[in-house]
C-alpha cells in the first residue's frame, strides 16, 4: 500500500472536509463566501506537493523518539 496520498484521495478528503470549509466561510462577508470556498479548494489542490512531502515516523521511530525524550 502506497503511503502517499493519491490525487483521488485528496479530492475525497476535500469532500470530507466540506463542513470545516463551510464553517470557515463565516470568517468573511457573505458576498465573498463563494469566492473563498473556491479559493480554499484551489489552495488545497495547489499544495498537493507539500502535503505529499509531509513525513511521518513509523511506530519504532516514534517510540524511540518518545523514550529518548523522556530521559
Amino acid at each position: 500500500m502506497d503511503k502517499k496520498l493519491s490525487k483521488e484521495e485528496l479530492l475525497n478528503l476535500i469532500d470530507s472536509l466540506n463542513p470545516k470549509i463551510k464553517k470557515s466561510l463565516l470568517n468573511t462577508n457573505y458576498q465573498d463566501r463563494n469566492d473563498l470556498e473556491q479559493e480554499i479548494k484551489l489552495k488545497i489542490i495547489e499544495s498537493y506537493e507539500k502535503i505529499a512531502a509531509i513525513e511521518a515516523p513509523n511506530f519504532e521511530e516514534f517510540l524511540t523518539e518518545f523514550l529518548t525524550k523522556q530521559k
Partner: protein
Amino acid sequence: MNQLTAHFFSHSLEFLQQQYSSFFEQPIIQVFLQNPEHMKILRETLDSPSSHNIYHLNETFKIFYYRAKVYKYMCSLIYFFSVDFDKRARKQRERYRMVLDAAPRDTGGVIDRIGTLDLQLENMGETNELSSHISDEEMIKALKNLTTKQNLVLTMIFSYGLSNKEIAAYFHESPQNISSIRKQALKKLRKHYMDEVYARKEKSHCG
C-alpha cells in the same frame, strides 16, 4: 531494531500499559489503538515480535500518522487561509472605495462624468430596498409582511453589506438585538416561503 524498542517489544501489552503509561497516553497512540484492527496488529506483534510483524506494525502506524498529519495540515490551512482571505478583502475594500459623489482631486466625481442619467437608472440607484433586487413575486410579498424595521435591517445587511455593529450604532441599539431582528426576519421569510410556495407547488404537482 535498536535496543530500546527491542526491550519494549519483549513485554506483554498489559505490562507495557503500566510501565509506559505516559506513552499510551499520547493522543496519537490513543487514537491509533481505538481502531480494533490496529489493536490486533499491536497484540500480534507483541505476542511474536518477528521482523515481519514489526514491519507490518511500523507501516500501519506510519500510514495512520501520515493521514493524521495531513488532516491537521488541511484543517489549519482552511482556517488560516479563510482568515487571511478576509483580511485581504477588507484591505481591498478599504483602499478602493467606490466614491460616486465626492471629487477625488481636480476632476469632478464619477457622477458628474456619467453625464445625463436616464430616469430609470437614477431611480434604481435611489431605492436600494431589498424588494428592488428581487424578481420572485412570492418573495416580494413575504418582504411586505415584515415590519418596517425588519425590512430596514435586512436592507442594510444585504444591500449595503453593513455589519451588525454598524447597524446597531445607527439605531443606538446593541448588536445582539440587530442579530435577533435579522434572525426573526429571515425566519419569517422562510416560513412564508414554506407555507405558501411549497403548499401551492405540492397542490399543482399532486393534483
